[in-house]
């Protein structure tokens, strides 16, 4: 049953800073189904992390959600109370981060931190809680959990720290796991193990994962569906095969061409001219138009940023001149 778990519609988020208003997200929409790994891809600063934090409503004080809704299991998270949101966080939605070393509290042992999660979300007595913690640690492949429990985070390797984070997030059997660049801070050999682990959890537990990354290789290897973002816009959404094999959005196509492939050996690497626009005063209409070879007058109109148009029932692109066959 592939029914919808998360559906995000026309999300608009702005940040108010001394330097001016950063228009971080503009009209972002996409869905995540159960038992599915959805990859959210884009260059740094395109709004991937802001989107994830908006789902969990963990945005800093100077951010404001101006528009859009975030439906999770049919309920709109944006209208929930802080108390309800707190029960969700670490409950049915949990999150792991990029740099595991600094994401664990340095002055508490692993045991104290994991038991704390359970204490917040369940009324299990100490022995029951300890059992579930050890079980969860074993599930994420941590060797000799009892020894690790007594250690502090600085006494663990990067990979082990990330596994502890994973163990913590699985404690209360979440439906959705948000993973914000989980492997970028870890060396490559461990990276593959973590990604394999995510896939096992998806199949084993029916867990949905929102995987945020800037690495197309990780997407190809792990994700079922993909959404490519550019400067706060959702350029293209579709199955992994749709987007990677048959990209229609000019930016996505240029992005995929720029990835060094064996076939390009010896040739000059193609690149996208121009730079990522500053979000303090982004270009009107489609934000890619200044760098887009196919940009026309309509792309520049301020009030009409391109809406997602369906290429197939699962492949959408937000562009007035989609390319490809």
């Amino acid at each position: 049953m592939n029914e919808r778990l998360v559906s995000i519609r026309n999300l608009k988020v702005h940040f108010f800073t001394y330097d001016g208003v950063v228009q971080a997200l503009e009209d972002v929409s996409f869905d995540i189904d159960r038992k599915q790994i959805f990859g959210l891809v884009g260059e740094t600063g395109c709004g991937k992390t802001v989107t994830s934090l908006t789902i969990l409503r963990l945005l800093p004080e100077n951010a404001k959600i101006l528009n859009g809704q975030v439906a999770f299991k049919g309920e709109d998270l944006l209208s929930k109370s802080e108390k309800e949101m707190r029960r969700l966080r670490g409950g049915s939605i949990s999150m792991i981060f990029q740099d595991p070393a600094s994401s664990l509290n340095p002055v508490f042992t692993v045991e104290k931190q994991l038991l704390r999660v359970l204490k917040e979300h369940s009324s299990a007595d100490p022995t029951e809680a300890r059992r579930r913690v050890i079980q969860s640690m074993e599930e994420v492949g941590l060797p000799d959990p009892r020894r690790i429990l007594r250690l502090y985070s600085h006494e663990l390797s990067g990979g082990m720290q990330q596994r502890v984070m994973l163990a913590a997030s699985l404690l209360s059997d979440p439906d959705l796991l948000i993973a914000d660049e989980p492997t970028s801070a870890i060396d490559v050999t461990i990276q593959a193990q973590i990604l394999k682990l995510l896939r096992q959890l998806k199949d084993g537990r029916g867990l949905s994962v929102l995987l945020i990354t800037h690495n197309m290789g990780v997407v190809a290897e792990t994700c079922d569906r993909v959404g490519v973002m550019y400067a706060g816009n959702m350029a293209e959404v579709g199955t992994m095969r749709d987007v990677l094999k048959k990209p229609h959005h000019p930016y996505v196509r240029a992005l995929l061409e720029a990835i060094p492939k064996p076939t390009l050996l010896g040739k000059e690497l193609p690149e996208i001219k121009g730079t990522v626009p500053s979000l303090l005063n982004p270009p009107p209409g489609c934000r890619y138009h200044p760098r887009c070879a196919y940009a026309t007058e309509v792309c520049r109109r301020p009030d009409a940023s391109p809406q997602p148009t369906a290429l197939t029932n699962s492949h959408f692109v937000s562009c007035y001149h989609p390319q490809g066959d």
């Binding site: 001394y18 330097d19 004080e61 100077n62």
Partner: protein, 286 residues
């Protein structure tokens, strides 16, 4: 220098530091124009006026008169010149000694760094005001000696500050580049290291001027600083202490002046520190 324009902007936005800025300007102006601003400059300097002995605050003497009938407001105004002079001399001396030492230690590293920093640690491992008191007492109580004492116990703060700066600056590419192109160490320190460690020094100096005024007043209160009849604020509070119950204004107003000026410098220093701290600039409230 866009950075300083922004910090000034931030300073203006933060109302509390703005208040500090206004008080400081008033203080500096009063000090500069003291003889012309003071209603009775002669009494400010110390000439007694026995008719007005212990006169309470009134229109002729806004802050009242002291035990020799001298107008306290004029004494405070003339005293502002002394307080400003003390704090500027001490801070400039402290920077003059501390900054080059710090830059040298930070940049050179190795033995010089070890020696300079151990001596600095020795001074800093020790309440600086206690050291100042001991030196002032040893040299003999006078205004100049208290300034020397304060400068001797203040320079280590700048050495440590600038050393930290220059250690981090040393690795920066533009310094590496300068060294690579054969620029002599001395010039690197003068033209690169020192100017770049200026902004934290400015913040520290702003706060320090307030603290030095407080410290100098404390020394005078204990009789180690200015001598009669100099209108030094600490001395005025101390000599008014005997009359605190009947004639509270003799100690009251000079103490208020010390408090206001020290508060102003601390507020502006705080505002500057916050303004120059990059993390703060981005996360203002919605």
């Amino acid at each position: 220098m866009a950075e300083h324009r922004i910090s000034f902007l931030l300073l203006r936005k933060n109302p509390v530091s703005l208040f500090g800025l206004i008080v400081i300007t008033a203080f500096v102006l009063t000090a500069a124009l003291a003889p012309w601003v003071a209603p009775y400059p002669e009494q400010g300097r110390g000439v007694p006026n026995l008719e007005a002995m212990f006169a309470p605050p009134s229109f002729t003497h806004l802050f009242g008169a002291d035990s020799l009938g001298r107008d306290i407001m004029s004494r405070i105004i003339m005293g502002s010149r002394i307080s400003l002079m003390i704090s500027l001399v001490v801070v400039v001396l402290a920077i003059g000694i501390g900054m080059p030492l710090g830059a040298l230690a930070g940049y050179m590293g190795g033995m010089t760094d070890e020696v300079v920093m151990r001596v600095t640690d020795l001074f800093l491992a020790f309440p600086s005001l206690l050291l100042a008191m001991a030196i002032a007492a040893a040299l003999g109580p006078s205004l100049t000696n208290s300034m020397i004492a304060l400068a001797i116990s203040w320079w280590p703060w700048y050495t440590r500050l600038v050393r930290g700066q220059s250690v981090s600056l040393r690795e920066r590419p533009f310094v590496e580049a300068a060294r690579a192109t054969g620029v002599r160490d001395r010039n690197i320190i003068l033209r690169h290291i020192l100017p770049n460690s200026l902004s934290p020094v400015i913040v520290q100096a702003t706060v320090d001027i307030g603290t030095v005024i407080l410290a100098a007043a404390s020394l005078s209160f204990l009789g180690l600083g200015a001598q009669q009849p100099t209108p030094e604020w600490g001395l005025m509070v101390s000599s008014g202490r005997v009359y605190i119950f009947e004639q509270w204004w003799i100690s009251g107003f000079p103490g208020l002046a010390i408090f206001a000026v020290a508060l102003a410098f601390n507020l502006v220093g705080d505002g500057l520190r916050e303004a120059l701290d990059p993390k703060v600039r981005r996360s203002r409230r919605a």
